[in-house]
Protein backbone atom coordinates (compact mmCIF):
# COMPACT_ATOMS: atom_id res chain seq x y z
CA UNK A 1 0.00 0.00 0.00
CA UNK A 2 2.88 2.35 0.78
CA UNK A 3 4.10 1.99 -2.80
CA UNK A 4 0.68 2.94 -4.14
CA UNK A 5 0.47 5.88 -1.78
CA UNK A 6 3.92 7.09 -2.81
CA UNK A 7 2.86 6.83 -6.45
CA UNK A 8 -0.25 8.84 -5.68
CA UNK A 9 1.89 11.48 -4.00
CA UNK A 10 3.79 11.80 -7.28
CA UNK A 11 0.43 12.20 -9.00
CA UNK A 12 1.01 8.94 -10.83
CA UNK A 13 -2.22 8.00 -12.59
CA UNK A 14 -1.76 4.22 -12.33
CA UNK A 15 -1.22 4.41 -8.58
CA UNK A 16 -4.24 6.66 -8.18
CA UNK A 17 -6.35 4.25 -10.18
CA UNK A 18 -5.14 1.31 -8.07
CA UNK A 19 -6.01 3.11 -4.88
CA UNK A 20 -9.40 4.11 -6.23
CA UNK A 21 -10.09 0.57 -7.42
CA UNK A 22 -9.11 -0.93 -4.10
CA UNK A 23 -11.47 1.20 -2.04
CA UNK A 24 -14.21 1.97 -4.56
CA UNK A 25 -16.61 -0.79 -3.44
CA UNK A 26 -16.56 0.05 0.26
CA UNK A 27 -16.50 3.81 -0.18
CA UNK A 28 -19.37 3.74 -2.66
CA UNK A 29 -21.38 1.98 0.07
CA UNK A 30 -20.48 4.82 2.45
CA UNK A 31 -21.79 7.38 -0.05
CA UNK A 32 -24.93 5.40 -0.79
CA UNK A 33 -25.67 5.21 2.91
CA UNK A 34 -26.05 8.99 2.89
CA UNK A 35 -27.24 9.64 -0.65
CA UNK A 36 -29.69 7.22 -2.19
CA UNK A 37 -29.30 8.55 -5.74
CA UNK A 38 -26.51 6.52 -7.35
CA UNK A 39 -25.25 9.19 -9.77
CA UNK A 40 -25.06 11.78 -7.02
CA UNK A 41 -23.35 9.29 -4.72
CA UNK A 42 -20.85 8.59 -7.50
CA UNK A 43 -20.07 12.30 -7.83
CA UNK A 44 -19.65 12.68 -4.09
CA UNK A 45 -17.35 9.67 -4.06
CA UNK A 46 -15.20 11.27 -6.75
CA UNK A 47 -15.07 14.50 -4.79
CA UNK A 48 -14.05 12.48 -1.74
CA UNK A 49 -11.22 10.78 -3.61
CA UNK A 50 -9.96 14.09 -4.96
CA UNK A 51 -9.67 15.15 -1.31
CA UNK A 52 -7.99 11.86 -0.44
CA UNK A 53 -5.36 12.37 -3.16
CA UNK A 54 -4.91 15.94 -2.07
CA UNK A 55 -4.42 15.08 1.60
CA UNK A 56 -2.40 11.88 1.22
CA UNK A 57 0.75 13.75 2.18
CA UNK A 58 -0.49 14.24 5.73
CA UNK A 59 -1.39 10.59 6.37
CA UNK A 60 1.25 9.13 8.71
CA UNK A 61 0.38 5.40 8.40
CA UNK A 62 -0.09 5.16 12.15
CA UNK A 63 -3.83 4.49 12.04
CA UNK A 64 -6.07 2.54 9.69
CA UNK A 65 -5.69 3.79 6.14
CA UNK A 66 -9.15 2.53 5.21
CA UNK A 67 -10.62 4.27 8.23
CA UNK A 68 -8.90 7.50 7.20
CA UNK A 69 -10.32 7.31 3.68
CA UNK A 70 -13.72 6.31 5.03
CA UNK A 71 -13.81 9.37 7.27
CA UNK A 72 -12.91 11.72 4.40
CA UNK A 73 -15.53 10.18 2.12
CA UNK A 74 -18.19 10.20 4.85
CA UNK A 75 -17.43 13.85 5.66
CA UNK A 76 -17.71 14.73 1.98
CA UNK A 77 -21.10 13.02 1.84
CA UNK A 78 -22.26 14.80 5.02
CA UNK A 79 -21.10 18.12 3.59
CA UNK A 80 -23.05 17.39 0.44
CA UNK A 81 -26.34 16.68 2.19
CA UNK A 82 -25.87 19.68 4.46
CA UNK A 83 -25.47 21.93 1.42
CA UNK A 84 -28.10 20.22 -0.70
CA UNK A 85 -31.01 21.04 1.56
CA UNK A 86 -31.38 23.87 3.97
CA UNK A 87 -32.57 21.89 6.98
CA UNK A 88 -33.02 18.26 5.99
CA UNK A 89 -32.31 17.02 9.46
CA UNK A 90 -35.23 18.68 11.15
CA UNK A 91 -37.85 17.04 9.03
CA UNK A 92 -38.91 13.88 10.70
CA UNK A 93 -42.21 13.22 9.03
CA UNK A 94 -41.34 12.40 5.45
CA UNK A 95 -41.30 8.76 4.56
CA UNK A 96 -42.28 7.84 8.05
CA UNK A 97 -43.11 4.17 8.24
CA UNK A 98 -42.34 3.91 4.56
CA UNK A 99 -42.40 0.36 3.40
CA UNK A 100 -43.30 0.46 -0.23
CA UNK A 101 -40.74 -0.94 -2.60
CA UNK A 102 -39.17 -3.26 -0.09
CA UNK A 103 -40.84 -6.24 -1.62
CA UNK A 104 -39.00 -5.54 -4.83
CA UNK A 105 -35.65 -5.88 -3.13
CA UNK A 106 -35.25 -9.59 -3.39
CA UNK A 107 -37.47 -11.49 -5.65
CA UNK A 108 -37.57 -14.76 -7.50
CA UNK A 109 -34.12 -15.91 -6.61
CA UNK A 110 -32.63 -17.70 -3.68
CA UNK A 111 -29.81 -15.56 -2.47
CA UNK A 112 -27.33 -16.42 0.15
CA UNK A 113 -28.51 -14.63 3.28
CA UNK A 114 -25.09 -13.27 4.21
CA UNK A 115 -24.56 -11.83 0.76
CA UNK A 116 -28.04 -10.43 0.78
CA UNK A 117 -27.65 -8.67 4.08
CA UNK A 118 -25.48 -5.82 2.84
CA UNK A 119 -27.74 -5.05 -0.09
CA UNK A 120 -30.86 -5.17 2.02
CA UNK A 121 -29.29 -3.04 4.71
CA UNK A 122 -28.17 -0.45 2.16
CA UNK A 123 -31.51 -0.35 0.43
CA UNK A 124 -33.39 -0.14 3.70
CA UNK A 125 -31.26 2.82 4.79
CA UNK A 126 -31.90 4.40 1.41
CA UNK A 127 -35.62 4.21 2.09
CA UNK A 128 -35.35 6.24 5.29
CA UNK A 129 -36.07 9.95 5.21
CA UNK A 130 -32.92 12.12 4.93
CA UNK A 131 -33.34 13.20 8.53
CA UNK A 132 -33.45 9.66 9.92
CA UNK A 133 -30.81 8.38 7.51
CA UNK A 134 -28.28 11.03 8.47
CA UNK A 135 -28.67 10.45 12.20
CA UNK A 136 -28.65 6.67 11.87
CA UNK A 137 -25.50 6.73 9.76
CA UNK A 138 -23.66 9.10 12.05
CA UNK A 139 -24.65 7.35 15.27
CA UNK A 140 -24.51 3.71 14.24
CA UNK A 141 -21.99 3.66 11.43
CA UNK A 142 -19.64 6.54 12.32
CA UNK A 143 -19.99 6.27 16.11
CA UNK A 144 -20.82 9.91 16.66
CA UNK A 145 -22.51 10.85 19.93
CA UNK A 146 -25.89 12.56 19.89
CA UNK A 147 -24.19 15.72 21.05
CA UNK A 148 -21.79 15.60 18.11
CA UNK A 149 -24.60 14.84 15.67
CA UNK A 150 -26.63 17.72 17.02
CA UNK A 151 -23.71 20.10 16.47
CA UNK A 152 -22.91 18.71 13.05
CA UNK A 153 -26.44 18.82 11.70
CA UNK A 154 -27.65 21.90 13.51
CA UNK A 155 -30.38 20.12 15.47
CA UNK A 156 -30.84 19.52 19.17
CA UNK A 157 -29.88 16.34 20.94
CA UNK A 158 -33.50 15.42 21.57
CA UNK A 159 -34.24 15.51 17.83
CA UNK A 160 -31.19 13.37 17.18
CA UNK A 161 -32.34 10.76 19.71
CA UNK A 162 -35.88 10.84 18.43
CA UNK A 163 -34.78 10.51 14.79
CA UNK A 164 -32.55 7.58 15.69
CA UNK A 165 -35.39 5.80 17.49
CA UNK A 166 -37.72 6.33 14.55
CA UNK A 167 -35.06 5.28 12.06
CA UNK A 168 -34.47 2.05 13.94
CA UNK A 169 -38.16 1.38 14.20
CA UNK A 170 -38.60 1.85 10.47
CA UNK A 171 -35.60 -0.33 9.69
CA UNK A 172 -36.84 -3.02 12.03
CA UNK A 173 -40.18 -3.05 10.33
CA UNK A 174 -38.61 -3.23 6.91
CA UNK A 175 -36.38 -6.13 7.93
CA UNK A 176 -39.26 -7.99 9.54
CA UNK A 177 -41.15 -7.77 6.29
CA UNK A 178 -38.12 -8.87 4.34
CA UNK A 179 -37.27 -11.87 6.44
CA UNK A 180 -40.85 -12.94 6.46
CA UNK A 181 -40.71 -12.78 2.68
CA UNK A 182 -37.51 -14.79 2.48
CA UNK A 183 -38.72 -17.38 4.94
CA UNK A 184 -41.83 -17.94 2.90
Amino acid sequence: MKVIVEGCLRNDRRSQEQLFKQFYGKMMVVCLRYISDKDTAQEVLQEGFIKVFDKLGVFDFKGSFEGWIRRIVANTAIDYIRKAKRSPFLSDQDNDFKQEGMDEMVENEKMDLLELKGEIALEAIGKLSPAYRAVFNLYVMENYSHKEIAELLGINEGTSKSNLAKAKMNLQRMLNEKFKHIDS
Binding site: E17, K26, V29, S87, Q93, D96, G118, A165, N176
Partner: protein, 425 residues
Protein backbone atom coordinates in the same frame (compact mmCIF):
# COMPACT_ATOMS: atom_id res chain seq x y z
CA UNK B 1 -34.19 -9.35 15.55
CA UNK B 2 -35.23 -8.17 19.00
CA UNK B 3 -33.93 -5.05 20.59
CA UNK B 4 -32.35 -1.89 19.37
CA UNK B 5 -28.79 -3.04 19.89
CA UNK B 6 -29.29 -5.95 17.59
CA UNK B 7 -30.52 -3.73 14.81
CA UNK B 8 -27.53 -1.42 15.17
CA UNK B 9 -25.07 -4.31 15.25
CA UNK B 10 -26.70 -6.02 12.36
CA UNK B 11 -26.56 -2.99 10.11
CA UNK B 12 -23.03 -2.15 11.23
CA UNK B 13 -21.74 -5.63 10.53
CA UNK B 14 -23.46 -6.07 7.22
CA UNK B 15 -22.49 -2.67 5.85
CA UNK B 16 -18.90 -2.55 7.06
CA UNK B 17 -18.07 -5.70 5.16
CA UNK B 18 -20.34 -4.96 2.22
CA UNK B 19 -18.65 -3.93 -0.98
CA UNK B 20 -20.09 -2.96 -4.35
CA UNK B 21 -18.50 -4.21 -7.58
CA UNK B 22 -15.92 -1.94 -9.19
CA UNK B 23 -17.16 0.41 -11.89
CA UNK B 24 -14.38 1.28 -14.34
CA UNK B 25 -16.37 4.22 -15.69
CA UNK B 26 -16.20 5.82 -12.28
CA UNK B 27 -12.42 6.02 -12.58
CA UNK B 28 -12.61 7.45 -16.11
CA UNK B 29 -14.91 10.13 -14.81
CA UNK B 30 -12.70 10.86 -11.79
CA UNK B 31 -9.55 10.96 -13.89
CA UNK B 32 -10.96 13.87 -15.89
CA UNK B 33 -11.33 15.86 -12.69
CA UNK B 34 -7.83 15.22 -11.39
CA UNK B 35 -5.05 17.74 -12.01
CA UNK B 36 -3.02 16.80 -15.08
CA UNK B 37 0.64 15.84 -15.05
CA UNK B 38 3.00 15.40 -12.13
CA UNK B 39 2.42 17.45 -9.05
CA UNK B 40 3.97 20.86 -9.32
CA UNK B 41 4.33 23.76 -7.01
CA UNK B 42 1.65 25.98 -8.50
CA UNK B 43 2.35 28.76 -6.07
CA UNK B 44 5.96 28.88 -7.17
CA UNK B 45 4.90 28.85 -10.81
CA UNK B 46 2.38 31.56 -10.14
CA UNK B 47 5.04 33.80 -8.68
CA UNK B 48 7.35 33.06 -11.59
CA UNK B 49 4.76 33.92 -14.21
CA UNK B 50 3.71 37.04 -12.32
CA UNK B 51 7.34 38.20 -12.04
CA UNK B 52 7.97 37.69 -15.76
CA UNK B 53 4.78 39.58 -16.62
CA UNK B 54 5.76 42.50 -14.37
CA UNK B 55 9.26 42.69 -15.90
CA UNK B 56 7.89 42.56 -19.45
CA UNK B 57 5.36 45.25 -18.54
CA UNK B 58 8.01 47.57 -17.09
CA UNK B 59 10.29 47.13 -20.10
CA UNK B 60 7.40 47.83 -22.48
CA UNK B 61 6.44 51.01 -20.65
CA UNK B 62 10.07 52.23 -20.59
CA UNK B 63 10.54 51.54 -24.28
CA UNK B 64 7.31 53.23 -25.28
CA UNK B 65 8.04 56.22 -23.00
CA UNK B 66 11.39 56.63 -24.64
CA UNK B 67 9.80 56.62 -28.10
CA UNK B 68 7.18 59.12 -27.07
CA UNK B 69 9.72 61.50 -25.60
CA UNK B 70 11.61 61.41 -28.86
CA UNK B 71 8.45 62.15 -30.82
CA UNK B 72 7.28 65.00 -28.58
CA UNK B 73 10.62 66.76 -28.66
CA UNK B 74 10.90 66.56 -32.43
CA UNK B 75 11.01 70.20 -33.69
CA UNK B 76 8.66 69.57 -36.56
CA UNK B 77 6.23 67.66 -34.41
CA UNK B 78 6.16 70.42 -31.79
CA UNK B 79 5.42 73.13 -34.33
CA UNK B 80 2.78 71.04 -35.95
CA UNK B 81 1.16 70.28 -32.63
CA UNK B 82 0.75 73.96 -31.93
CA UNK B 83 -0.56 74.70 -35.36
CA UNK B 84 -4.26 74.99 -36.16
CA UNK B 85 -3.61 73.78 -39.67
CA UNK B 86 -5.10 70.37 -40.10
CA UNK B 87 -2.85 69.47 -42.98
CA UNK B 88 0.33 70.22 -41.01
CA UNK B 89 -1.07 68.46 -38.01
CA UNK B 90 -1.52 65.38 -40.11
CA UNK B 91 2.12 65.56 -41.02
CA UNK B 92 3.04 65.84 -37.37
CA UNK B 93 1.07 62.74 -36.56
CA UNK B 94 2.73 61.03 -39.43
CA UNK B 95 6.16 61.84 -37.97
CA UNK B 96 5.10 60.81 -34.53
CA UNK B 97 3.76 57.54 -35.72
CA UNK B 98 6.68 56.71 -37.86
CA UNK B 99 8.83 56.83 -34.75
CA UNK B 100 6.43 54.58 -32.88
CA UNK B 101 6.32 52.13 -35.68
CA UNK B 102 5.46 49.11 -33.46
CA UNK B 103 1.77 49.84 -33.35
CA UNK B 104 -0.27 48.60 -36.30
CA UNK B 105 -2.91 51.30 -35.57
CA UNK B 106 -0.51 54.03 -36.62
CA UNK B 107 -0.49 52.92 -40.22
CA UNK B 108 -3.97 54.33 -40.70
CA UNK B 109 -2.58 57.89 -40.85
CA UNK B 110 -0.61 57.28 -44.03
CA UNK B 111 -3.32 58.39 -46.43
CA UNK B 112 -6.05 61.08 -46.36
CA UNK B 113 -8.66 58.40 -46.76
CA UNK B 114 -7.44 56.67 -43.64
CA UNK B 115 -7.55 59.93 -41.71
CA UNK B 116 -11.22 60.19 -42.56
CA UNK B 117 -11.74 56.76 -41.21
CA UNK B 118 -9.88 57.76 -38.05
CA UNK B 119 -12.13 60.80 -37.65
CA UNK B 120 -15.11 58.53 -37.86
CA UNK B 121 -13.58 56.29 -35.28
CA UNK B 122 -13.02 59.28 -33.04
CA UNK B 123 -16.63 60.35 -33.19
CA UNK B 124 -17.93 56.90 -32.53
CA UNK B 125 -15.51 56.39 -29.71
CA UNK B 126 -16.45 59.69 -28.12
CA UNK B 127 -20.01 58.52 -27.92
CA UNK B 128 -19.14 55.51 -25.88
CA UNK B 129 -16.25 56.36 -23.64
CA UNK B 130 -14.91 59.05 -21.41
CA UNK B 131 -11.29 57.98 -21.76
CA UNK B 132 -10.69 60.31 -24.70
CA UNK B 133 -12.00 63.26 -22.76
CA UNK B 134 -9.50 62.83 -20.01
CA UNK B 135 -6.45 62.93 -22.24
CA UNK B 136 -5.01 66.33 -23.04
CA UNK B 137 -3.09 66.98 -26.26
CA UNK B 138 -0.51 69.11 -24.47
CA UNK B 139 0.02 66.68 -21.63
CA UNK B 140 3.42 65.22 -22.39
CA UNK B 141 3.48 63.27 -19.15
CA UNK B 142 0.84 60.91 -20.39
CA UNK B 143 2.24 57.58 -21.47
CA UNK B 144 2.60 57.50 -25.24
CA UNK B 145 0.31 54.50 -25.29
CA UNK B 146 -2.40 57.12 -24.94
CA UNK B 147 -0.95 59.25 -27.72
CA UNK B 148 -3.46 57.81 -30.12
CA UNK B 149 -6.18 59.18 -27.86
CA UNK B 150 -4.45 62.53 -27.81
CA UNK B 151 -4.47 62.62 -31.56
CA UNK B 152 -8.09 61.63 -31.63
CA UNK B 153 -8.96 64.43 -29.21
CA UNK B 154 -7.09 66.86 -31.44
CA UNK B 155 -9.03 65.68 -34.40
CA UNK B 156 -12.19 66.44 -32.57
CA UNK B 157 -10.99 69.82 -31.34
CA UNK B 158 -9.97 71.14 -34.73
CA UNK B 159 -13.45 70.55 -36.03
CA UNK B 160 -15.45 73.67 -36.77
CA UNK B 161 -17.61 74.41 -33.68
CA UNK B 162 -20.56 75.33 -35.83
CA UNK B 163 -20.29 71.98 -37.52
CA UNK B 164 -20.19 70.29 -34.13
CA UNK B 165 -23.21 72.15 -32.81
CA UNK B 166 -25.13 71.18 -35.88
CA UNK B 167 -24.82 67.61 -34.62
CA UNK B 168 -28.41 66.54 -34.04
CA UNK B 169 -29.01 64.75 -30.80
CA UNK B 170 -32.31 63.10 -30.20
CA UNK B 171 -33.73 61.86 -26.95
CA UNK B 172 -35.83 58.72 -26.91
CA UNK B 173 -39.47 58.81 -25.86
CA UNK B 174 -40.00 58.00 -22.22
CA UNK B 175 -42.94 55.97 -20.92
CA UNK B 176 -44.83 57.05 -17.83
CA UNK B 177 -43.24 55.99 -14.61
CA UNK B 178 -44.27 55.40 -11.04
CA UNK B 179 -43.32 57.15 -7.86
CA UNK B 180 -40.29 55.46 -6.34
CA UNK B 181 -39.05 53.98 -9.65
CA UNK B 182 -35.35 54.11 -10.37
CA UNK B 183 -34.47 56.28 -13.35
CA UNK B 184 -31.25 55.50 -15.18
CA UNK B 185 -29.68 57.24 -18.13
CA UNK B 186 -26.22 57.21 -19.68
CA UNK B 187 -25.15 60.34 -21.52
CA UNK B 188 -23.38 59.16 -24.64
CA UNK B 189 -23.43 62.52 -26.40
CA UNK B 190 -21.06 65.47 -26.42
CA UNK B 191 -23.69 67.65 -24.81
CA UNK B 192 -24.93 67.95 -21.28
CA UNK B 193 -28.13 66.24 -20.25
CA UNK B 194 -30.37 67.98 -17.74
CA UNK B 195 -33.14 66.27 -15.78
CA UNK B 196 -35.68 68.66 -14.28
CA UNK B 197 -38.12 67.44 -11.63
CA UNK B 198 -41.74 68.71 -11.33
CA UNK B 199 -40.63 71.05 -8.52
CA UNK B 200 -37.86 72.48 -10.69
CA UNK B 201 -34.85 70.67 -9.26
CA UNK B 202 -32.22 70.13 -11.95
CA UNK B 203 -29.63 67.40 -12.24
CA UNK B 204 -26.88 67.72 -14.87
CA UNK B 205 -25.45 64.64 -16.53
CA UNK B 206 -22.14 65.29 -18.24
CA UNK B 207 -20.88 63.40 -21.26
CA UNK B 208 -20.05 59.81 -20.35
CA UNK B 209 -21.75 60.01 -16.96
CA UNK B 210 -24.59 57.78 -15.90
CA UNK B 211 -27.42 59.10 -13.80
CA UNK B 212 -29.23 56.80 -11.42
CA UNK B 213 -31.88 58.39 -9.27
CA UNK B 214 -35.11 57.56 -7.50
CA UNK B 215 -38.16 59.40 -8.78
CA UNK B 216 -39.37 61.01 -5.58
CA UNK B 217 -41.87 63.47 -7.00
CA UNK B 218 -45.09 62.90 -8.89
CA UNK B 219 -45.80 65.05 -11.93
CA UNK B 220 -43.96 65.87 -15.15
CA UNK B 221 -40.19 65.48 -15.37
CA UNK B 222 -38.32 66.93 -18.35
CA UNK B 223 -35.02 65.80 -19.74
CA UNK B 224 -33.09 67.88 -22.26
CA UNK B 225 -29.79 68.11 -24.11
CA UNK B 226 -28.14 71.49 -23.86
CA UNK B 227 -25.36 72.70 -26.12
CA UNK B 228 -22.52 73.96 -23.93
CA UNK B 229 -20.91 75.73 -26.90
CA UNK B 230 -23.98 77.82 -27.64
CA UNK B 231 -25.08 79.28 -24.31
CA UNK B 232 -26.70 76.10 -23.15
CA UNK B 233 -29.35 76.24 -25.86
CA UNK B 234 -31.69 73.25 -25.78
CA UNK B 235 -31.03 70.78 -28.57
CA UNK B 236 -33.80 68.33 -27.68
CA UNK B 237 -36.25 67.93 -24.83
CA UNK B 238 -38.60 65.18 -23.78
CA UNK B 239 -40.85 64.74 -20.81
CA UNK B 240 -42.41 61.91 -18.88
CA UNK B 241 -45.00 61.68 -16.14
CA UNK B 242 -44.40 60.11 -12.76
CA UNK B 243 -47.63 58.74 -11.35
CA UNK B 244 -48.44 58.12 -7.73
CA UNK B 245 -48.14 54.57 -6.42
CA UNK B 246 -50.67 52.78 -4.21
CA UNK B 247 -50.39 53.47 -0.52
CA UNK B 248 -49.87 50.25 1.40
CA UNK B 249 -49.03 49.49 4.98
CA UNK B 250 -49.07 45.99 6.42
CA UNK B 251 -49.62 45.11 10.03
CA UNK B 252 -49.45 41.63 11.49
CA UNK B 253 -50.17 40.24 14.96
CA UNK B 254 -47.28 39.68 17.36
CA UNK B 255 -48.18 36.04 17.95
CA UNK B 256 -50.21 33.20 16.54
CA UNK B 257 -53.79 32.58 17.53
CA UNK B 258 -54.52 28.89 18.26
CA UNK B 259 -58.12 29.35 19.29
CA UNK B 260 -59.40 27.16 16.46
CA UNK B 261 -56.60 24.64 16.87
CA UNK B 262 -54.87 26.03 13.80
CA UNK B 263 -51.83 28.35 13.78
CA UNK B 264 -53.49 31.58 12.66
CA UNK B 265 -51.66 34.87 12.11
CA UNK B 266 -53.99 37.83 11.77
CA UNK B 267 -52.96 40.39 9.18
CA UNK B 268 -54.40 43.74 8.15
CA UNK B 269 -53.32 46.42 5.72
CA UNK B 270 -54.04 50.12 5.32
CA UNK B 271 -54.42 51.10 1.70
CA UNK B 272 -56.22 53.42 -0.69
CA UNK B 273 -56.81 50.55 -3.11
CA UNK B 274 -59.81 48.25 -2.93
CA UNK B 275 -58.06 45.07 -3.98
CA UNK B 276 -54.84 43.77 -2.48
CA UNK B 277 -53.06 40.50 -2.94
CA UNK B 278 -51.71 38.51 -0.02
CA UNK B 279 -48.86 36.03 -0.26
CA UNK B 280 -47.02 33.84 2.22
CA UNK B 281 -43.44 32.79 1.56
CA UNK B 282 -43.79 33.70 -2.11
CA UNK B 283 -47.03 31.78 -2.63
CA UNK B 284 -50.15 33.78 -3.40
CA UNK B 285 -52.96 33.12 -0.94
CA UNK B 286 -56.14 32.09 -2.68
CA UNK B 287 -59.29 34.16 -2.15
CA UNK B 288 -57.34 36.72 -0.19
CA UNK B 289 -58.13 40.11 -1.78
CA UNK B 290 -59.31 42.10 1.19
CA UNK B 291 -57.60 44.36 3.64
CA UNK B 292 -57.89 41.75 6.40
CA UNK B 293 -56.61 38.22 6.08
CA UNK B 294 -55.85 35.31 8.40
CA UNK B 295 -52.74 33.41 7.40
CA UNK B 296 -51.91 29.86 8.48
CA UNK B 297 -48.28 29.40 9.47
CA UNK B 298 -47.23 25.76 9.86
CA UNK B 299 -43.49 25.81 9.40
CA UNK B 300 -40.81 26.79 11.86
CA UNK B 301 -38.47 29.62 10.90
CA UNK B 302 -38.79 32.72 8.79
CA UNK B 303 -42.20 33.33 7.26
CA UNK B 304 -42.52 36.23 4.84
CA UNK B 305 -45.94 37.84 4.60
CA UNK B 306 -46.39 40.20 1.69
CA UNK B 307 -49.19 42.31 0.31
CA UNK B 308 -49.24 44.01 -3.08
CA UNK B 309 -51.61 46.26 -4.96
CA UNK B 310 -51.81 47.95 -8.35
CA UNK B 311 -53.59 51.23 -9.13
CA UNK B 312 -55.26 52.50 -12.32
CA UNK B 313 -51.96 53.96 -13.59
CA UNK B 314 -50.45 50.49 -13.47
CA UNK B 315 -48.22 51.47 -10.56
CA UNK B 316 -47.60 48.74 -8.04
CA UNK B 317 -46.65 48.75 -4.41
CA UNK B 318 -45.60 46.03 -2.00
CA UNK B 319 -45.23 45.80 1.71
CA UNK B 320 -43.94 42.85 3.66
CA UNK B 321 -43.30 41.65 7.18
CA UNK B 322 -41.35 38.72 8.56
CA UNK B 323 -42.72 36.47 11.28
CA UNK B 324 -40.35 34.05 13.02
CA UNK B 325 -42.04 30.86 14.13
CA UNK B 326 -40.24 29.07 16.95
CA UNK B 327 -41.45 25.55 16.20
CA UNK B 328 -43.34 23.56 13.62
CA UNK B 329 -47.05 23.19 14.15
CA UNK B 330 -47.58 19.66 15.47
CA UNK B 331 -51.27 19.58 16.35
CA UNK B 332 -50.47 21.17 19.72
CA UNK B 333 -49.62 17.76 21.15
CA UNK B 334 -47.98 17.36 24.56
CA UNK B 335 -45.03 15.00 24.95
CA UNK B 336 -45.91 13.46 28.30
CA UNK B 337 -48.95 12.44 30.33
CA UNK B 338 -49.82 10.69 33.56
CA UNK B 339 -52.99 8.62 34.00
CA UNK B 340 -52.72 9.12 37.76
CA UNK B 341 -52.58 12.92 37.50
CA UNK B 342 -55.23 14.99 39.22
CA UNK B 343 -55.24 17.38 36.30
CA UNK B 344 -57.78 16.08 33.80
CA UNK B 345 -55.85 17.62 30.93
CA UNK B 346 -52.79 15.52 31.71
CA UNK B 347 -54.49 12.23 32.47
CA UNK B 348 -54.54 10.99 28.90
CA UNK B 349 -53.15 11.71 25.47
CA UNK B 350 -54.86 13.29 22.49
CA UNK B 351 -53.25 16.10 20.44
CA UNK B 352 -55.14 19.22 21.56
CA UNK B 353 -55.80 20.52 18.05
CA UNK B 354 -57.83 17.40 17.25
CA UNK B 355 -60.19 18.15 20.11
CA UNK B 356 -61.09 21.60 18.75
CA UNK B 357 -60.70 21.14 15.01
CA UNK B 358 -63.44 19.45 13.11
CA UNK B 359 -61.18 17.24 11.05
CA UNK B 360 -61.38 13.47 10.48
CA UNK B 361 -58.22 11.69 11.63
CA UNK B 362 -56.63 8.41 12.66
CA UNK B 363 -54.37 8.47 15.72
CA UNK B 364 -52.01 5.52 16.19
CA UNK B 365 -49.57 4.96 19.05
CA UNK B 366 -46.70 2.57 18.34
CA UNK B 367 -44.13 0.73 20.40
CA UNK B 368 -40.70 1.75 19.02
CA UNK B 369 -39.16 -1.59 20.03
CA UNK B 370 -41.26 -3.73 17.76
CA UNK B 371 -43.55 -1.39 15.83
CA UNK B 372 -46.54 -2.93 17.54
CA UNK B 373 -49.72 -0.85 17.69
CA UNK B 374 -50.47 0.11 21.27
CA UNK B 375 -53.52 2.30 20.64
CA UNK B 376 -55.69 3.70 17.86
CA UNK B 377 -58.47 6.24 17.84
CA UNK B 378 -60.52 8.20 15.30
CA UNK B 379 -62.51 10.09 17.90
CA UNK B 380 -61.10 13.10 19.73
CA UNK B 381 -63.27 12.27 22.74
CA UNK B 382 -61.53 8.90 23.02
CA UNK B 383 -57.96 9.77 24.10
CA UNK B 384 -55.25 7.27 24.99
CA UNK B 385 -55.28 6.36 28.68
CA UNK B 386 -51.85 4.70 28.61
CA UNK B 387 -53.08 1.13 28.25
CA UNK B 388 -51.22 -1.13 25.83
CA UNK B 389 -54.05 -2.80 24.00
CA UNK B 390 -51.93 -5.88 23.29
CA UNK B 391 -51.45 -6.70 26.97
CA UNK B 392 -54.17 -4.69 28.68
CA UNK B 393 -51.49 -3.24 30.99
CA UNK B 394 -50.37 0.31 31.61
CA UNK B 395 -47.25 1.17 29.60
CA UNK B 396 -43.97 1.52 31.54
CA UNK B 397 -42.81 4.88 32.86
CA UNK B 398 -40.37 7.06 30.89
CA UNK B 399 -40.47 5.00 27.74
CA UNK B 400 -41.01 7.04 24.61
CA UNK B 401 -43.81 5.84 22.34
CA UNK B 402 -44.36 7.10 18.83
CA UNK B 403 -47.65 8.70 17.90
CA UNK B 404 -48.82 9.33 14.39
CA UNK B 405 -51.87 11.22 13.14
CA UNK B 406 -53.13 10.99 9.59
CA UNK B 407 -55.60 13.71 8.60
CA UNK B 408 -58.07 12.92 5.88
CA UNK B 409 -58.93 16.55 5.12
CA UNK B 410 -56.04 18.86 5.98
CA UNK B 411 -56.51 22.58 5.40
CA UNK B 412 -54.70 24.37 2.57
CA UNK B 413 -50.95 24.30 3.04
CA UNK B 414 -51.11 21.74 5.81
CA UNK B 415 -49.41 18.38 5.71
CA UNK B 416 -51.26 15.10 5.89
CA UNK B 417 -49.25 13.25 8.52
CA UNK B 418 -48.01 14.39 11.93
CA UNK B 419 -45.77 12.40 14.25
CA UNK B 420 -44.25 12.83 17.66
CA UNK B 421 -43.28 10.96 20.78
CA UNK B 422 -45.13 10.57 24.05
CA UNK B 423 -43.91 9.45 27.47
CA UNK B 424 -45.82 8.38 30.56
CA UNK B 425 -44.41 10.03 33.66
Amino acid sequence: MDGNKQIEDRFRESLESFELPYDAEAWTSLEKKLPKGPKTNYLKWGFGVATVLVIVGIISVLLVNHSADTANTHPEGKVNNDSKNTKVEKQSEDNLLRKNDESPKKIILNSPKEITSLKNTTEIASEHTTVHNSVSASDNTNPPLNSLNVVLSNETKVQDPSKKSSNIVQLPDFASKCYGDIFEMLNKEEHTLVLTSPSGKKIQIQKGDKLTCTLEETGVYTISYTDRLQSNSILDEKSFTVNKSPMLELQIADELDYETGLPVLHGECSTNETIVRWSLNGKVCENANHVKHDLLLFDKGRNIIEISAQNDFGCKAKSSRIFHLQEDYNLLAVNSFSPSSNDARRMNFMPYALTVRNVPFVLTVLDPDNSGTVFTSTDASQPWDGIDRRTGNLIPLDKAYIWRVVLSKPVQGEKLVYTGSIVRF
